[in-house]
Symmetry: C3
């Protein structure tokens, strides 16, 4: 049983995801389809790329990861398939796959061009149904990767904003906000601990100060602000049993500054 993971911004209010699954099962009735997420903000390629990167490695080897956040659907942007040592990734060539691919050994990149695997006629507003779902399904029954199109050598890549170090300040920002209102930053554990070393520090966000790192949300009282290394491996600002987003009125791109004292 081959696993196909799905990551889209199609939401669950309509039939988009259900119809993609129908197309897949029509080709491979034994495909095991797992939703990573469909409720990302519409058209948010960065969030999708971040979430795919934070998810793909937990799946079994040989999982086919299908990621379709595709505001350019039907335009000239390419449709691609990327084989890495452990997985296959399928999606539009708009950067959505690029963060997940950064740390993997890429074996092959193809532009998907073989219309034999497409539903006909292809509707240029829903290529996830008419092109991508079928490609993932045919991959899941063992169709050779080379069959889907022609080899290419580069894909569009996308970069999350990087933190900066300015003397005694480590300046990062909020790059993702989850359902709980946790503010995930672009500061990874290694960077943070290397910067802080044995010094005292304070973390500033929207004029609030956090003076220590917590190990679990419950380390502080209910309703209190805390900083923690989260399940994405990044520094996160949270409120115990509350929402840091609401509490701080913080948005994506909000600055998070760690000062070495």
């Amino acid at each position: 049983m081959r696993i196909i993971s799905l990551l889209t911004d199609f939401g669950l209010e309509d039939n988009f995801v259900g119809v993609m699954k129908a197309v897949i099962l029509n080709i491979n009735p034994k495909a095991s389809i797992v939703d990573i997420c469909h409720n990302l903000n519409a058209h948010n390629i960065k969030a999708a790329a971040f979430i795919l990167e934070a998810s793909y490695r937990y799946f079994p080897k040989n999982t086919i990861h299908l990621a379709v956040v595709d505001p350019g659907v039907g335009s000239s942007r390419k449709k691609i398939l990327v084989k890495t040592a452990d997985f296959i990734f399928v999606g539009p060539d708009n950067g959505v796959l690029s963060l997940a691919l950064q740390n993997q050994k890429i074996e092959k990149i193809l532009e998907i061009t073989n219309t034999k695997y497409f539903l006909r006629p292809v509707c240029d507003t829903f290529q996830a149904r008419d092109i991508f779902a079928g490609v993932a399904a045919y991959l899941s029954i063992g169709e050779r990767i080379e069959s889907f199109g022609k080899k290419i050598t580069t894909i569009k890549s996308l970069n999350l904003p990087k933190f900066k170090i300015n003397r005694n300040n480590l300046i990062g920002e909020v790059i993702y906000i989850d359902r709980f209102g946790n503010l995930i930053t672009n500061i990874d554990k290694k960077a943070f601990t290397g910067f802080v070393a044995n010094n005292r520090f304070e973390i500033k966000i929207n004029n609030k100060i956090i003076k220590s790192l917590s190990r679990s949300y419950a380390d502080v009282k209910r309703g209190e602000l805390l900083a923690i290394f989260d399940s994405f491996g990044n520094l996160e600002v949270s409120v115990n049993r509350g929402s840091a987003k609401d509490c701080l009125g913080a948005k994506e791109t909000a600055a998070v500054i760690t000062k070495r004292l």
Copy 2:
């Protein structure tokens, strides 16, 4: 492995859908259950009928489509099962199945009456759990259709509003709005192209004018209004990377008028 598709207005905030799946798997542990959608507006039979019609054909032959948007649950409305050439449909007899059935060859209609397949006691506020889920599950393990009740010859049907032609005006309306704020109209491609032929035209909605058809959302600039034939096969008014619904303040039933110039 037999597929059962689910379409309801139960939402994903409660356990309704999960419990339906539990009941199905209790009867057929090998059933493959696919969600079409559960987040339709509560009690919106028309939207459900529209979505079912736009979805059923993508599923493998012999899929059992279970559609329960059922504001009259527990009342005297019938519970029905409809066998067509390729599928079986199960649901309340309130029109929810009728649009999907319009273009199919109906082989048999049954009123579901055999209590042998029901959970007991049947709760009259949740027949999806106590009646419909079980019927779909028993169908999926090959129970004969005739076992579930008695043959009937007609079902309640429901019609979407039809477009009208008034001299040089093709007058349609918005019948569905998707997650992206795209406004799906009741004007299909054939009707539109037949009406417009080789003439110039303009499409008017909420006092805004669109003067051409796009082939993909990206044909216009970000934030601009466009008209396109969508994945439902209908004329759709959209905004590239935005929401036509928000941009126009449009609602279902909003008039969409194409004028031949």
Copy 3:
């Protein structure tokens, strides 16, 4: 094929649920995973416990129920596994399992301590991924229950508010509000019918009076208030094709008083 049910407050906006499924399928590719619900209000242990109790029994025997609403994640609260006559329950020891366990024969309780089954390193903000998902998955491939930790004898239990009887008043409250705005009370059918017996009665909530019980929502006109025994087995206040929550401005804990006339 062993079934694992999932109940969390992780929502479907992020990748939390998808990653839990990935971890499970990595250990048992044949696990059949069923979502009970993920959209409960964040950190609402009571609602989760109520929903688990209202759901578990519909699943096939031997289902592994994994319930993670866990505001104390990473703190000293225990992680437990409970074997009953028909099911296995896995989750944090914060009461989330306790209502479901009240009516079952408990055979064994274990504190989960064997790190062999954990992902490493364990992230103290996402033990559902790093601990619970793996435990459920290993259980689903037949790992012995005793392998996961040490026997304990008690778990934290949680009680829903109980109704009271004060002369001719049966005083209950709203304990759960579903997607439709139905107000589910803590008054079960047996208690209600025993109290009312053959007397006339009226049910008062937020200064509105209901004078009879309905058998189905459609017993009253569209938009009218009604009282009914619902699919949870409890007295429920509803509006036919509307929302009692919106109509009455009612919240959880709102008093629902039945007066014997």
